[in-house]
Every structure is written in structure tokens, then in C-alpha cells.
């Protein structure tokens, strides 16, 4: 039962409404691509999306709690509200594909299958963390899971992700680089330098713009002359589509399309994920720049997890009790990660001088 509300992107309550999904313009010979109609998930897909999104939600809530207790320091940017984006995209990937993003990275790491213990222990700055405690919330990497970070400088990951795609092309493999960045990052100059090279050299990179409507306290309409991010590649002949990033099925469908596009040698493609962050930009953001109603409306009408939950219950693919049990399992994983992250010792002081050069 795909209602109209699910097909169109979520609408902001105050700002002017967004254009619904539509074929990208063919201006200047950019290939036309349409937002694919999401396919219904099978039971197993719904359940796994539910589990994966819930893990991110609960993990982030716990991280917020540990931050409040002073166990996590510095900057901590939570992903709550945006879970469908990374979970849906991950469903479209295969072994060998790479992922890179900015500092709002906990969700991406969990989605790539990184161990919650290692992620949480990095947040608390302990030796069992993915970067041995030296990187923190914004800087984590996993060679094993092809996760290339974890970058603190807005926009810097975009050329880096383009370089991962260059390596794929160079080696002649069919791997794809998923390069995530925000609506705010989309205004950085190096993004457009990357677009040009990626298109010129037909690099297999999917640019996933996570448009959560705000860059810190600045709404998209206050920072961007062109607020349709799917059009940002037009002058480089890179096609783009807008996707309802709160619907994991829509994300998966767009991800399949984009990854196929890259694998078949057509070059880069842009996915504008229309999503929303429920929490402040970081822990110290009072979020006075948007109304409570706006946040509440997204939570109650578009929550990515609730959408899946409702379908599972409606189709009788799971009972309330099944989902409660699922929730309990997820909470246990998170509690275990948090326990580990508190019990694990800080790095040995000798680590101060390691890993600077090889």
C-alpha cells in the first residue's frame, strides 16, 4: 500500500515545497534518469532493514547518553532520523564496494557491518576502538569493511571518494565508490572539481547527497541558490535523482539503479536523499532554527523505522511481540558495546608516537 505520501518526498512544514520526483533535465546532453518506483520488500528484507535501522537508532541514543555522562568528548554528531539512507544503500552494494563519508558517520559504519563495540570504544577513546582511540567520533576507518572514514572537514571526502573510484577504474574491477556528503557540503568548491573529473573520466562513483535540510543552523534555502541537489551535476553531464530518503525501499531502488549505472561504465551519478535529522547538529546545538512542530511532524509521519514496522505488522509478517523481542536483542548488542566501551582501557601512552609515518 504505497500511499502518495510515501512516493513524494517529505515536505517541510514551512519552507516552500520541493519538487516531487521527476526525470532529471537533459540540459546540455546529460542522460535522463528517472527516480525508480520502489519495489515492495520481501519479508526477509523488511525484517533486516528493521533490524539494521533499529541498531543505528539505539546505538545513537546510547552514544548521546554516554556523551551526556562525559564518557564521550569533543564533537558527536548523531544520525537519528537518517537511518534509511545508509541501510537502503547498503542493500544495493556488493563485496568490494567502498563507502566514505563526513563526520556524521556512526550509521554508515554500522551499516557496513563494522562492530558496534569497536565503534563505541572509539567514541569513548579506548584502545579497542577502530582507530585505537586516536580518531574519535569523526575519524574512524575499516579496511576490512571498505569504509574509508570518517572525515572532519566539510566536503573533503568528495574528492577522496572520487579517488577511490579512480582506483577501481585503474584496476579494471567493477567496484563502486559510495561517496556521501551533506547539503551544506554540496556548496564546497572541491565537490565541483570532483564532479568534473569524475564525469570526464567516467569514474564509478555514486554521490549520495544526504539533504537533511540543514547545515548546522543554516537551512538549505538560506545557503543554496539551487536547492534541487539532483541538478547539481548538470553542467558536468552527471545525472541525478531525488529520492525519499525516509523510505528504505525508495533508497534501495535508487541505490540499485545508481550502482548498476556505475558498474556498466556510464560514469558518476547523483542521488539526492531527502532526509531529516531529528537531533541537533551536534550535542551542543540548541536547534533554535527550526520549529518543534517541524521535527515532530517528521517523526510522527515519516519515521523510517515506524514505516517498516507498520508494514511488518500490517502484513502480519511480525507480531508486536516479535518486534519487541527484536528490540530487546538490539538493545543487548548496544548495551554490550557500551559496556565494552567503558571497560576497555585507554590507549597505552606509547601510542602517542605510533602511526605517524610508516
Amino acid at each position: 500500500m504505497a500511499t502518495a505520501a510515501r512516493k513524494t518526498a517529505p515536505k517541510p512544514s514551512s519552507a516552500k515545497s520541493r519538487s516531487p520526483a521527476k526525470p532529471s533535465s537533459t540540459a546540455g546532453g546529460t542522460p535522463a534518469v528517472r527516480t525508480p518506483k520502489p519495489e515492495e520488500f520481501k519479508q526477509e528484507q523488511e525484517l533486516s532493514a528493521y533490524r539494521d535501522m533499529l541498531l543505528i537508532r539505539r546505538f545513537e541514543e546510547k552514544a548521546g547518553q554516554l556523551y551526556g555522562m562525559g564518557l564521550i568528548g569533543g564533537f558527536c554528531h548523531l544520525y537519528i532520523g537518517q537511518e534509511a539512507v545508509v541501510v537502503g544503500m547498503q542493500m544495493a552494494l556488493k563485496e568490494g564496494d567502498q563507502v566514505i563519508t563526513g563526520y556524521r558517520d556512526h550509521g554508515h559504519m554500522l551499516a557496513t557491518g563494522m562492530d558496534p563495540r569497536g565503534v563505541m570504544a572509539e567514541l569513548t577513546g579506548r584502545r579497542g576502538g577502530y582507530s585505537k582511540g586516536k580518531g574519535g567520533s569523526m575519524h574512524m576507518f575499516s579496511k576490512e569493511k571498505n569504509f574509508y572514514g570518517g572525515h572532519g572537514i566539510v566536503g573533503a571526502q568528495v574528492p577522496l571518494g572520487t579517488g577511490l573510484a579512480l582506483a577501481n577504474r585503474y584496476r579494471g574491477n567493477d567496484s563502486v565508490s559510495l561517496t556521501y556528503f551533506g547539503d551544506g557540503a554540496a556548496n564546497q568548491g572541491q565537490v565541483y572539481e570532483s564532479f568534473n573529473m569524475a564525469s570526464l573520466w567516467k569514474l564509478p562513483v555514486v554521490y549520495v547527497i544526504e539533504n537533511n535540510r540543514y547545515a548546522m543552523g543554516t537551512s538549505v534555502s538560506r545557503s543554496s541558490a539551487e536547492t534541487d541537489f539532483s541538478h547539481r551535476g548538470l553542467s558536468f553531464k552527471i545525472p541525478g535523482i531525488q529520492v525519499d530518503g525516509m523510505d528504505v525501499r525508495a533508497v534501495k531502488a535508487a541505490g540499485d539503479l545508481a550502482v548498476d549505472w556505475c558498474r556498466s561504465g556510464k560514469g558518476p551519478i547523483i542521488l539526492e536523499m531527502q532526509t531529516y535529522r531529528y537531533r541537533g547538529h551536534s550535542m551542543s546545538d540548541p536547534a533554535k532554527y527550526r520549529s518543534k512542530d517541524e521535527v515532530q511532524k517528521m517523526r510522527s509521519e515519516h519515521d523510517p523505522i515506524e514505516q517498516v514496522k507498520k508494514r511488518l505488522l500490517d502484513k502480519k509478517w511480525a507480531s508486536e511481540d516479535d518486534l519487541k523481542a527484536e528490540d530487546k536483542r538490539v538493545r543487548e548488542i548496544v548495551a554490550d558495546a557500551a559496556d565494552f566501551a567503558q571497560a576497555d582501557p585507554e590507549p597505552d601512552v606509547s601510542e602517542l608516537y605510533t602511526d605517524i609515518l610508516l
Binding site: 541514543e61 548521546g64 547518553q65 556523551y67 551526556g68 555522562m69 562525559g70 564518557l71 568528548g73 569533543g74 564533537f75 572509539e122 569513548t124 577513546g125 579506548r126 582507530s131 582511540g133 586516536k134 580518531g135 574519535g136 567520533s137 569523526m138 575519524h139 572525515h151 572532519g152 572537514i153 566539510v154 566536503g155 551544506g184 557540503a185 556548496n187 564546497q188 568548491g189 572541491q190 547545515a215 548546522m216 543552523g217 543554516t218 538560506r222 545557503s223 543554496s224 531529528y278 550535542m283 551542543s284 540548541p286 532554527y289 517523526r299 567503558q342 582501557p345 585507554e346 590507549p347 601512552v349 601510542e351 602517542l352 608516537y353 605517524i356
Partner: protein, 466 residues
Amino acid sequence: MPTEILMPALSPTMEEGNLAKWLKKEGDAVAPGDVIAEIETDKATMEVEAIDEGKIGRILIGEGTEGVKVNTPIALLLADGESEEDLSKAPVSAPPAAAQAPAEEPAAQKVEETPKPAAVPKAEAPALPADPDIPEGTEMVPTTVREALRDAMAEEMRRDEDVFVMGEEVAEYQGAYKVTQGLLQEFGDKRVVDTPITEHGFAGVGIGAAFAGLKPIVEFMTFNFAMQAMDQLVNSAAKTLYMAGGQMGAPIVFRGPNGAAARVAAQHSQDYAAWYGHIPGLKVVMPYTAADAKGLLKAAIRDPNPVIFLENEILYGQTFDVPQLDDFVLPIGKARIHKAGKDATIVSFGIGMTYAVKAEEELRGMGLDVEIIDLRTIRPMDLDTVIESVKKTNRLVTVEEGFPQSSVGDHIAAQVMQRAFDYLDAPVITVAGKDVPMPYAANLEKLALPSVAEVVEAVKAVTYRG
């Protein structure tokens, strides 16, 4: 057993806050995500959200309480099935045991607390030895560095229509670190301009506007992000006057927090004093006190040259006396003798001064009379004042948070060696940050930064004490 709701930390540097308002009362049911209270810090008012489901059993910290330490229990939450009687079972937890948190120290506590030796004579003249141009009897007003910077900008904007501010979040958000608070309200959105996140672009735009005669104040959210704009700062701002044979230059100020904050890791924790200090065509200011911040920022805005103005997030909230004068402007390029002494000289600047000041207190307890020079300006550097001091004390230690190689201290040491070699009774010691990217882990971060103990050791070494 009821769950304790603790006073949360909302920023890397928050240690305590005020409990401004309770939005739930005892007996109210709460669900995860419900806003239960509002708390205030010096930067912002924030909402506290419930994490667990339950009923507010008891409010432990009343509305309006100020200075509530992070991690103090503020209320007790009853879970499903628990009743009022269970409240008595609540663990009466000791407040925020820093001892429990293996992080050891609140994040902001970067500078080591050294126990004060018993009989330390009080230094004459509290924080600020009067600058020569402050008239006797001028009222001194306790002011935070944050307010002093804001006041300097506001005063200069009132005085000169060509002065305007631009940067990320400077207007509607009132500044990421609240330094531009109130400016939008007073001066409007023509003169207080929010930019997209495009440092290289807006730095260049500012320089272009300065070529055309405006006097932009460009705020970098932090100087870490100014690396994206480095080409414009060095190639356009610094060199144009020279390349144009003096016809045209850039009267512009680039300002914002510089250096390590607390636990923000390698990409957000760099001190750029030495970087900009390297570039002819720039002036580089790095104040410590609020009075210097104000007087030097006003001077920077009036200066016809590009000025890099390096602030520090940890200093923003610190209070110093600022003279109440209609137009308090200090000279760029002049060091300030923070405390006179005869046995050894410590030269520092910006946050480095916090180590110097604490070390001096400790050394005084050991009977050493140390002179502290606050450089205030990195370029042009007031080496004359440093050399005069060395001629008197014959011993020199420099202190900064930046990387050790090609540091500001290295430059001072080289100059002193060339110009006052015969006056030195010991090799100059340069105390700096360690030669490593800033680690995130609390214990490693502490080691990566200089410490009061290192400064004390260095002074003992140059004076051949123990």
C-alpha cells in the same frame, strides 16, 4: 530501582550549567524523546530529552538552580511497575564522580591543575599590568574574552559603515561560538552575513571586497577550516600590496578560534600561529586577555593590512578586567610584560599564557622570580621587548601549543641567539605541543599538549635548579 536522570554535558567544554526550567513535574509520564527540562550554559539554552520511558518520581534539582555540575542526578525516573516507595531505594549517588569516569578529567580541563604551594606571595598588580595609555582611575570591568571581541566589532561597526562581518553561522545563529551575538540585531543582514560552507570562496570574496575598499571581518568557524582558504589568504591577501607596487591591498581581518579545543581530534585541533607568522604581508595577532582581545581587534579592523586574528575557544569564557574607555585601541606589534621578574623569562602568547601563568606561581613558591612576556602579536614580532628581558634575566623559555618544528619559539630562540648570545647563561628551551597529530583519547590528548609541569621543568633547567 528508579533510574537517575543526570545533568548532561552539552558541549566539549561544558562543566556545569543552570537548570532553567522543568517542563515535567513529579508524577508526569515521559517517553523517550520527550523534553523534560531546559538547561542553560554560557553559550546556549538546551533541552534535556528523556531517554527512557517512565514516570518522574522525584525532582532532585529545583528549577532555577545555578551551577549544576555535569552528571549530578537531577531527577529520579520510575519505570513501569515501580512506585513512590521505590524512590527510597534509589542509590544516593555521590555527585558526578570524576573518579568513576575513566576519562579522568572533564574535557575542558586541559591545563594541569598544580596544587598551590603554601606560602606563595601574591603577585603585585592582579592580571593586567596597566598599559601605558590607560589613565589613572579608569574603571575596570570584568569581561569575558567572548564579550570583548563582540564589543570590539560592534564599536568599529558603529564607527565605520565600511566594516561588515561575514562567515558561517555568524548572523542568525549568533555565531557557532556566540562571538557575534547580537550583531545581526543591531546592524542588520547587510552588514552581518551568513555564508555557505565555502571557505575558499568566501575568503576570496572578502579579499575582493577589501580590494574595493570595504573592511570585511571574515570569521572562520575555526581556523582549521581556513586551510581550505589558505591560497587566498597567502597568495591574494598577503601579496597583493607588494605585487601592485603599493597601489592596492586588502584591509581585512580574518578571525576565529585557533588551536586545540578539547577532545576534537586531529583535524580540529591545530595551532596556526607559526604558519601565518611565516608569511610576509600578513599581520598576526594572538591575544590572551580580554582587554588585549578588545584593544587589538579594534586595531586590526582599522589596520589597512590583512590581519590574521587567532582566538581560542577555551579562552572565550574566561574573564579579565577590561578598561572602560570610549575608544580602547592597543598597538599591534607590541608585547606586554605580564609580570616583571629577574631570574628567568617566559615568552608565550594566546592560550600558551595559561601554562606560563600557572608555572610562574609554582616557581614563585620555589623562590624564583620569573618574568612573563605575553607576545600578543606574532607578526610583526616585538623581539626588542624579549631581548631587553633576556639581557636582564639571561634565561629564556618559550611556551606554545603548536607543533615543535619551525615553531614560533624556534624563531624567537634563533633571534635571541643571534642578537643576545652573550647575555644567555643557558640554552633557550622551547616548550611546544608534541610532534604528533592531536589524538582523541583523553589520556593521549593530555600528553600531546604542553603542561605546566613541563614549563616548570624548563625554567628549573635554564636556572640550573634541581
